[in-house]
């Protein structure tokens, strides 16, 4: 999968930067710690935008391209922030068979974002995930962990409306 690069302006706080600087200070003499630093950075910022990857590149003295290569290789890293409401649609076998794709399409259509992206106002993010163990309710999706099961594309607008304001 090609990862989506966020176009939402970066707004990291000084506190976040201080945290990341501390992690880098601890690891900068051992380049094999790169994955660890990236995981920490994602924990701090929720994703790895260019600004954060540049901080890591400069701090660890590792070229940005190498960091980006790792970030786009491993599924655990995201280049797009999580929204205030993080929607995760299950694409496990059961859900897929029962029509998860039309649900994703509907959400995409309403929010104007693709999986892996976040809306410009930072409100919603959309992603696809593997089986979440609720196959009996297939197809399912979650919004900030709250599970919605046995839904059809027609149910989507009503559910999203609850979060819109």
């Amino acid at each position: 999968m090609l990862k989506k690069i966020s176009t939402i302006p970066f707004n990291g706080t000084p506190e976040q930067k201080a945290k990341l600087d501390a992690v880098i200070a601890e690891c900068k003499d051992d380049k094999s710690q790169l994955m660890h630093v990236m995981q920490e950075a994602q924990g701090i910022y929720g994703y790895l935008p260019r600004e954060v990857q540049v901080m890591i590149a400069e701090g660890m003295d590792i070229p940005l391209e190498k960091i980006y290569g790792v970030a786009t290789f491993y599924a655990q890293f995201s280049l797009s922030p999580k929204g205030e409401y993080d929607i995760s649609v299950c694409l496990g076998t059961a859900c897929y068979v029962k029509g998860a794709q039309p649900i994703i399409d509907k959400i995409s259509e309403i929010l104007g974002i693709e999986p892996g992206e976040c809306t410009a106002d930072g409100k919603f993010s959309l992603e696809e995930c593997r089986c979440i163990g609720a196959c009996g309710l297939a197809p399912v999706f979650t919004i900030n962990g709250e599970v919605y099961g046995k839904i059809t594309a027609d149910d989507v607008p009503g559910i999203l409306a609850k979060y819109m304001n």
Binding site: M1, R50, E58, Y68, G69, T72
Partner: protein, 583 residues
């Protein structure tokens, strides 16, 4: 043979050096194994699997490029199983390849095309399926990237990272989406690439190529209002012949000049002249700084790839860079001033073409802040050796059949010192030949005095006594080597007075604009040494071997500049630099 092992290849017994790979062992006994991803000293990742062979007792086929031989090993390089595996590998590569060999810039020098031909791949679409489309990245001044022809061998990535310590390209994403590019989808022109072109000469296919400026040159030649002049860099004379089947290291100056005249240039000049001019200015600059002890070490500025690297990655050293324009720049500058005046031509009607072994020279040609004539570029088109060869072929000139010709006045003379600019250590040696005579007032009779700075090693050091004062010099080629030297200077571990840095390993003879040498040759021959030998030989045979003895150089000082380092020389022949970002 000491440290030898006994092996069998295809049923015959051989003794080969212990520690060699199967690929090397087979080559040493006259058996070639195809490669794609492997590039000696640069990339040994065993990824493409085109080099597979059978080894008795091994469960699967092994990659010959990385697998070492050992005592008693039995190897089969040509069994039906091996051939079938290689064919399948090629067919799989073709399934995601934009096949346009008819017009491809690398047709004829493409390693993929050659293998497909050799293995008789009849069905180019044996595996057809999804094809990932990529836009061609033309954002950089000097080159483009067409990922639809990329076979993901990663030779470019390795050379940019390991040889050049730049690392602006890499493999991104995974699986079917894996592609080579820069972080966050930036184009090559928007990242801190230094334009060296080493990735192009490392690429087995047409995925990477120089920006082609030949049409621009043809257009100028066909424009009756333009007076079109051309200069050829030192290393061009030893590279160009390879495009026409000459053995590596053959110097073809006479035929090159002839071909340029046949192409219709109004003046065919020698960059060696400008190299000599550079020495006059740079030796003067060095002696002045040395006397004052200011901004030392002086670092050479004739390699625009190195200059760009310095501006991006070592801005603290910008003050150490020589303010001299490169020989390319100096030539353009005198062509649009001194020459224009002498010929009575308006500088804006003079079109200056450079033929260079270098892609970074295309970038340099577009830096116009310090042009000799305000509002005009010093250089109007800078083409590589490969582009010149293309022009010669297109014009129907039978290079091997034409007679030799001589460069034109007033920039036709070049000294041996100018010639060796093309090899690592050459600028240093040339400068020392002149500085020695200036400082000591004595004639340098042994032209081999400074030969310690010759040779292909990445870092060379020497100390010379010039009439009681010791001058410590260093020479580095390939930017990873330059980085080592700069770090030692920074930390105070080393103290030098004068450093020569060339971006390309081995210097311009191995520049990013030279003829492509396939891995099947590069893996076994030292291109740098072979081509450099041609230049040193040229130097030894030239009547004048010191820059300050070049009669054309003397004349331009007498008639125009006065003396080296004069105010006028500074205005026209010197330049300035800008700090650039990395991210």
């Amino acid at each position: 043979m000491e440290n030898a092992v006994n092996i069998k290849i295809n049923g015959f017994d051989y003794q080969v050096p212990a520690g060699s790979t199967i690929l090397e062992a087979a080559h040493s006994v006259g058996i070639e194994i195809p490669t794609l991803c492997y590039l000696k000293e640069i990339n040994a990742i065993g990824a493409c699997r085109i080099c597979v062979v059978e080894v008795k007792g091994a469960r699967s086929l092994v990659a010959a490029c990385v697998f070492p031989v050992n005592e008693g090993m039995e190897i089969f390089t040509n069994t039906p199983k091996v051939i079938e595996a290689r064919k399948t590998t090629l067919e799989l590569i073709l399934s995601t390849h934009k096949k346009e060999c008819l017009s491809c810039v690398r047709s004829g020098s493409c390693e993929l095309q050659k293998l497909c031909h050799e293995y008789g791949i009849e069905d180019e679409n044996a595996f057809s399926g999804d094809f990932v489309n990529y836009d061609i990245d033309r954002s950089a001044t000097h080159m483009y990237r067409d990922n639809e022809k990329c076979i993901l061998c990663r030779r470019c990535v390795a050379v940019c990272d390991k040889t050049q310590a730049v690392s602006v390209i890499g493999a991104n994403a995974r699986g079917f989406d894996t592609h080579i590019g820069s972080a966050f989808k930036y184009g090559l022109g928007d990242v801190a690439c230094i334009s060296c072109g080493q990735c192009i000469t490392a690429c087995p296919t047409g995925a990477l190529a120089e920006r082609d400026d030949t049409q621009k040159v043809f257009d100028a030649l066909n424009d009756p209002t333009k007076h079109v002049v051309v200069q050829t860099a030192p290393a061009v004379r030893v590279g160009l012949g390879e495009e026409f089947g000459y053995e590596m290291g053959t110097v073809v100056t006479g035929k090159m000049v002839s071909a340029l005249k046949m192409l219709g240039f109004d003046g065919v000049f020698d960059t060696n002249f400008a190299a000599d001019l550079t020495i006059m200015e740079e030796a003067t600059e060095f002696l002045a700084r040395f006397k004052e002890g200011k901004n030392l070490p002086l670092i050479t500025s004739c390699s625009p790839g190195w200059v760009k690297y310095c501006e991006h990655y070592y801005p603290d050293f910008i003050k150490n860079l020589s303010s001299c324009k490169s020989p390319q720049g100096m030539f353009g500058s005198v062509a649009k001033t001194f020459y224009a005046e002498k010929m009575g031509i308006d500088p804006k009607d003079i079109f200056v073409v450079s033929v260079m072994p270098c892609t970074a020279k295309k970038f340099e040609a577009e830096r116009t802040d310090y042009s000799a004539v305000k509002g005009l570029a010093d250089i109007d088109a800078s083409i590589t050796v490969r582009e010149l060869a293309r022009m010669i072929k297109k014009a129907g000139i039978n290079f091997r059949a034409i007679p030799d010709a001589e460069f034109d006045a007033p920039f036709g003379l070049g000294s041996g010192a100018g010639t060796i600019f093309g090899a690592t250590g050459g600028v240093m040696e040339a400068a020392l030949r002149t500085a020695y005579e200036v400082v000591t007032g004595k004639e340098l009779t042994d032209l081999a005095t400074f030969k310690a700075v010759r040779g292909v090693e990445g870092v060379k050091e020497a100390s010379y006594d010039l009439d009681g004062v010791t001058v410590n010099v260093a020479v580095a080629s390939g930017l990873a080597n330059a980085k080592k030297v700069l770090e030692m200077v920074k930390s105070g571990e080393k103290k030098y007075d004068f450093i020569e840095i060339m971006a390309c390993p081995g210097g311009c003879v191995n520049g990013g604009g030279q003829p492509i040498v396939p891995a099947s040759v590069r893996n076994f021959e030292d291109v740098r040494a072979l081509r450099a030998a041609g230049l040193y030989n040229d130097d030894a045979n030239l009547p004048v071997r010191k820059s300050h003895e070049n009669a054309d150089v003397k004349a331009i000082y007498d008639e125009f500049f006065g003396e080296p380092g004069s105010h006028k020389a500074h205005d026209i022949l010197h330049t300035g630099y800008t700090e650039r970002k990395v991210y």
